[in-house]
């Protein structure tokens, strides 16, 4: 589904990604973790072309993201993305947030889009909030709406860029619950997150990054079960985030 081959990227002299290679199969859930500044967010943004790359190639559903001839808008409409800071459109109501892409990008009728949007809103448990504006919702609620917005486009895969990092602790679970449910339904997912509980529960593989390189790309049970086999950097990272 997603293939990342030898991807490198630099901002001027600063190397953000170095020779990253990995893939996500259909129905697979891959968690990407690592210290901040390790390039996780940049890597996930290269998948739908939000961050251009200088070397390597990325294939999504067989389409080359880096080919200048690729219709990037069309490709992005098939890949859902959820951001750290939600990024709902503050000038629109929740319903409008959920229907804008469906109507303007997919060409659905307003009724069809609203119908679909409200169903997804119910699924994330926020049907009563349909007419509010994003600013009136809590962070956890906004993030659930953002997930519903991404799902409204019927994506073939979902990308999550630290979806719970900006949330108050008591709101993290309501968002993770939605993500766990999604994973169990067989959605192809790539998640940048530090929520190791989520990774243990639903991930198939865990990728560990540091300084722009993929240091580990390991099946979940191996990653958490066989800690002695991990690289020193990963051990250090895990010991820091697991024992607090």
């Amino acid at each position: 589904m997603i293939e990342i081959n030898n991807v490198s990227k630099a901002y001027g002299a600063f190397q953000v990604l170095t020779d990253c290679t990995t893939q996500v199969a259909k129905g697979e859930v891959v968690v990407v973790c690592g210290p901040s500044g390790s390039g996780k967010s940049t890597l996930i943004k290269t998948i739908n072309g939000l961050e251009p790359i200088q070397k390597g190639e990325i294939l999504v559903n067989g389409t080359n993201v880096c080919n200048p001839k690729t219709n990037l808008s069309k490709l992005r409409s098939k890949v859902g993305m959820v951001f750290q800071h939600f990024e709902l459109f503050p000038h629109l109501t929740i319903t409008e947030n959920l229907t804008l892409g469906q109507i303007k990008v997919l060409g659905r009728s307003k009724d069809e889009a609203t119908d679909k949007g409200l169903k997804l809103l119910e699924r994330v448990g926020l049907k009563t909030q349909a007419d509010k504006h994003p600013g009136q919702l809590s962070g956890g609620q906004q993030q659930r709406v953002a997930i519903a917005r991404a799902l409204s486009m019927d994506p073939v895969a979902m990308l999550f860029d630290e979806p719970t990092s900006a949330l108050d602790p008591e709101m993290i679970n309501e968002v993770l619950d939605v993500m766990v449910e999604l994973a169990r339904e067989g959605m192809t997912m790539m998640c940048v997150t530090h929520e190791m509980g989520f990774a243990k529960k639903v991930a198939h593989r865990v990728i560990f990054m540091d300084e722009g390189r993929i240091l580990e790309d390991t099946p979940k049970d191996e990653f958490f079960g066989n800690v002695d086999q991990r690289t020193d950097r990963a051990k250090q990272f895990l010991s820091r985030i697991l024992h607090h």
Partner: protein
Amino acid sequence: MAYEFDFSLINPANMKVLGEGMVVSLEITLTGVLVGIVWGSILAMMRLSSVRPLSWFAEAYVTVCRSIPLVMVLLWFFLIVPQLLQKTFNLSAATDLRMTSSLIAFSLFEAAYCSEIIRAGIQGVSRGQLFAAQALGMHYGQVMHLVILPQAFRNMLPLLLMQGIILFQDTSLVYVSALADFFGRAYDIGERDGRTVDMLLFAGLVYFVICFFASRVVKRLHKKAFI
């Protein structure tokens, strides 16, 4: 030493003439603001575009407009545009194009100022919004039109309205082309009756009252928009 203001000047006949002048002033202001916002938005997007020639053009345009006194631009347009239009459209030399040339000059000049306000407004919308809109599959035009510009305009509306108020005051500069706006009419009446000072004081008071209340309204809007 008290100055005796001649209140008899404030009579219906004079008010009618002044009213006609005010219509001209408002017409120029409104056109300037509307065209300024539309052309200014385009200039702002050109300036922010990654296509080099476009951003250079917009930058040069804005720099030139901001470095030349408005009254000079008006005079140039007054001298050049009528001839140009007369030649292009085969109009007789008697056709009065002062209004047209003033409208064009003000609109083009205003666009330069608006574009800077709009550019700041666009840049004030977070990059995440751009990413979110793009991630939904919108192309650049949709991203701007549906997501970025509505938010940018909401943030910069007070500034644009303030700019409109400044423009309203600047319309008095059309006196260089002898166009009968509010200020021009007031001056004419004063000259005719030998009471120039009185009429100019009165005109100044009218400008003050209008601009004062308009800015109060804008301030209120500003407070509302940022709550």
